[in-house]
């Protein structure tokens, strides 16, 4: 034989899926929400999504270039971070703010901790919370149809359930951040990810169920016209704010969620309780972003107490 045969350790076959495929599919799954955001809020929303995505990719590229590291922008993870941050921005926020958020998310939250796989907090949410704290005004001002007004969630918080139209919330014809308003668009993306085997129901399912139980029980204590497991109230809480975008696209981030199955259940429950607490009893109407990044920080602890039992030591069943 003239040519040398290849030698490698087994296995000699591999599945086709790669990390960049996965990130690309997440990007595709975000497109319905992005498209609806642009349709709902217009040009500025489109520009914001482009700016945050481009800034995220560029930051990653420049950092890796300067640090003489391998350029990893081809894995689409920076695209996902940038796009997610964009979807979490109010459509009226200045573009430089979005760009600054992307730089923070990629540089501080992701790269300084070692790059892809090493960050302990979701970079897009870390960036959003950074912007929320730094620029509270523009980050919480929502202008819709030319009018500045509260989001449906803020109405609920004030106790005026009657100002809320559930159908508008389902479709997304409400004020909010660019990508969070349309439950339908988000669910279309989520179904795509589930069908492609990228995410499963373990985290988002437990998150949403726990949240429903929490607001079902405690909602009545926050407003006079809300009953025990009030269906209108629960629907509004589910469709309002960043819950759907957070539950399906950010709580499910592999890097910052537990690797153990039991851990994912606990993570989901924790998210549901924290979101409920923050929304019902906190200072702001919103609570998803903080709930997720706090839960991110608890992942190592959750994993430690949920290590699976090996086969033959009780783990076979």
């Amino acid at each position: 034989m003239e040519n040398k045969l290849n030698i490698s350790s087994s296995p000699h076959i591999r599945s086709k899926i790669t990390s960049s495929n996965i990130m690309l599919m997440v990007t595709i799954a975000l497109l319905p929400a992005s498209a609806f955001g642009v349709y709902n809020f217009g040009m500025n929303a489109l520009l914001m999504l482009i700016v945050t995505t481009a800034a995220a990719v560029l930051t990653e590229y420049i950092y890796e270039k300067l640090m003489h590291k391998k350029i990893t922008i081809g894995d689409f993870s920076a695209v996902v971070t940038g796009l997610l941050l964009g979807l979490n921005m109010p459509p009226t926020a200045p573009l430089w703010m979005g760009a600054l958020g992307s730089v923070f998310g990629i540089l501080i939250v992701k790269q300084l901790f070692g790059g892809l796989g090493q960050n302990f907090m979701n970079p897009a949410l870390g960036a959003r919370c950074f912007l929320l704290i730094s620029f509270t005004g523009p980050m919480t001002r929502f202008i819709y149809d030319g009018e500045t007004g509260p989001t449906p969630l803020a109405y609920i918080k004030e106790g005026s359930m009657s100002s809320v139209n559930s159908m508008d919330m389902l479709i997304g014809r409400i004020p909010g951040t660019i990508g969070e308003t349309s439950v339908i668009a988000i669910i279309i993306g989520a179904i795509f990810l589930i069908l492609m085997g990228i995410i499963d129901l373990r985290i988002p399912g437990t998150y949403i169920v726990t949240f429903v139980i929490f607001v079902g029980i405690f909602g009545q204590f926050t407003a006079a016209d809300v009953g025990f497991f009030d269906p209108n109230y629960i629907t509004a809480q589910l469709c309002g704010g960043g819950l759907m975008l957070g539950a399906w696209f950010m709580a499910t981030d592999y890097v910052t969620s537990p690797i153990t199955k039991q851990g994912q259940i606990i993570f989901g429950i924790l998210l549901g309780v924290l979101t409920g607490l923050f929304r019902l009893f906190g200072g702001s109407a919103e609570g998803v972003s903080y709930a997720i990044i706090i839960s991110n920080l608890l992942v190592p602890l959750i994993e430690r107490v949920t290590l699976p039992k090996p086969f033959g030591k009780g783990g076979e069943k």
């Binding site: 087994s10 296995p11 076959i13 599945s15 990390s19 790059g115 039992k309 090996p310």
Partner: protein
């Protein structure tokens, strides 16, 4: 009823269509035969022939080198040419007896000790040991030793491993299709050693024809049962097979016998039958020659010691030079740098591929996706264990149950970051085992 199986596992393309329908063909080697003295687990066999001796097919040429060892028999007639080191399929150089084939195939006359019904258990075990039968699925553990557990009366199940879960390999499938009676006969022999035990044939449900054949053959055998298993890799791994068929689970510190089980694969059981009922030593086996680089993939009855190059020629040779040649299955087999190695007792297949499926795969960062955890039949966390292994953190590695790994490779298969998880964990396991021996 839901199909019997285990948790975890993967579904790679099984590639069996290439050689599945090719009936077993006898091959007669022309070149020298090379018999490694170490083709089983345990002490190497000790040669009892010298250079220049004439040997017959079926004549013993090396004696077992201890209790955990196995004798070796010539598979052709000819003259002993040398006793010298040669490469074996796993890439190690081991001492071998080289026999120059005279092409006559003059054979020893085989005779069983006595009819099976009259044999004592000791005589049966003796015949199996004397015939040099070892586990032919890949491990090469001497079968006589496996069939001699400390407390034989506690063995409840004899499990025939008919899963053949490695992709591409169809040797056991052809055995079950063509001579299922030999397999059932082997089971009968083993059951006569264990009075209380029940015989189970565990067959993956991608072989419905085998299941039907075995069911038909065993319908009047009250002590035997055929069980259909879910087609999933690694269904034929010993621990997973025992669990699927009996619901019993063993870990790395236990032997199947601790769960009252003995597992033997198809080829091994057939060799047991031939040893005890026909008095024939273990001198040949069925080898699948397949892969996209081979002209006529097929299944061959190959004498041990035969050069693997000749076996590929028997399969019509290569279409083009392959990039990769594997001894054994694609999941757990060994990549070979040369085909100039002999067929041994554990050579289930030679697979050749025009393109190396893992060439040029770039390892990227772990994204913690958990696919390895999902796939791991041992229910451990491969991605973390590979990290500990790469950092030589032996303490964390053993604490996180790294020693429970069965090295099936499912984690490496599914990893989207293409991390060599099994390789890292496997290397660390060897280090831990070596350190334990030192203590």
């Amino acid at each position: 009823m839901a199909l019997l199986t285990f948790r975890g596992g993967i579904h790679p393309d099984d590639g069996k269509r290439l050689a599945k329908d090719a009936a077993i063909v006898d091959v007669k080697p022309k070149g020298d035969l090379v018999y490694p003295l170490s083709q089983h687990i345990g002490a190497p066999a000790s040669p009892i022939v010298a250079k220049g001796d004439r040997v017959l097919r079926g004549q013993k040429i090396a004696e077992a080198g201890g209790f955990v060892s196995a004798p070796i028999y010539a598979s052709v007639s000819g003259t002993v040419k040398a006793i010298e080191p040669h490469f074996n399929p796993t890439g190690a150089k081991v001492n071998c007896i080289v026999v120059e084939n005279d092409g006559e195939y003059e054979e020893v006359e085989y005779a069983p000790v006595k009819p099976l019904e009259e044999m004592t258990k000791e005589e049966i075990l003796g015949a199996i040991g004397e015939a040099g039968v070892v586990g032919m699925g890949g491990a090469g553990f001497p079968t006589r030793v496996k069939l001699s557990p400390k407390e034989p009366e506690k063995i409840d199940y004899i499990i025939a491993n008919c899963a053949e879960c490695e992709p591409y390999i169809t040797a056991d499938y052809r055995r079950m299709m063509e001579t299922p009676e030999l397999l059932v006969g082997g089971m009968k022999v083993i059951l006569s050693v264990f009075d209380k035990a029940k015989g189970i044939f565990g067959v993956e449900d991608n072989k419905p024809d085998c299941i039907e054949k075995l069911k038909e053959l065993t319908k009047d055998e009250p002590r035997m049962e055929v069980m259909a298993l879910k087609t999933k890799y690694p269904q034929g791994a010993e621990r997973q097979l025992i669990y699927a068929t009996t619901g019993r689970a063993i870990n790395s510190t236990m032997l199947p016998a601790d769960a009252g089980c003995v597992v033997d694969n198809v080829e091994t059981m057939i060799n047991v039958y031939q040893a005890v009922v026909k008095g024939m030593p273990s001198i040949e086996r069925i080898v699948t020659v397949s892969g996209d680089a081979v002209n006529k993939p097929g299944n061959f009855r190959a004498p041990f010691g035969m050069n693997q190059t000749e076996l590929v020629e028997a399969a019509g040779g290569f279409k083009e030079e392959p990039e990769k040649v594997i001894s054994g299955g694609p999941m757990m087999g060994f990549a070979m740098f040369t085909l100039d190695v002999p067929v041994t007792k554990t050579s289930s297949s030679i697979l050749s591929f025009l393109k190396d499926p893992v060439k040029g795969l770039e390892e990227t960062a772990c994204i913690n996706c958990g696919r390895c955890v999902e796939a791991c039949p041992s229910r451990i966390i491969p991605s973390r264990l590979a990290d500990y292994a790469q950092h030589h953190n032996e303490e964390a590695f053993t604490k996180m149950e790294g020693m429970e790994c069965v090295e099936c490779g499912s984690c490496s298969y599914v990893c989207p970051a293409k991390r060599p998880l099994k390789q890292a964990i496997g290397s660390m396991r060897k280090i831990v085992l070596a350190n334990r021996r030192k203590k």
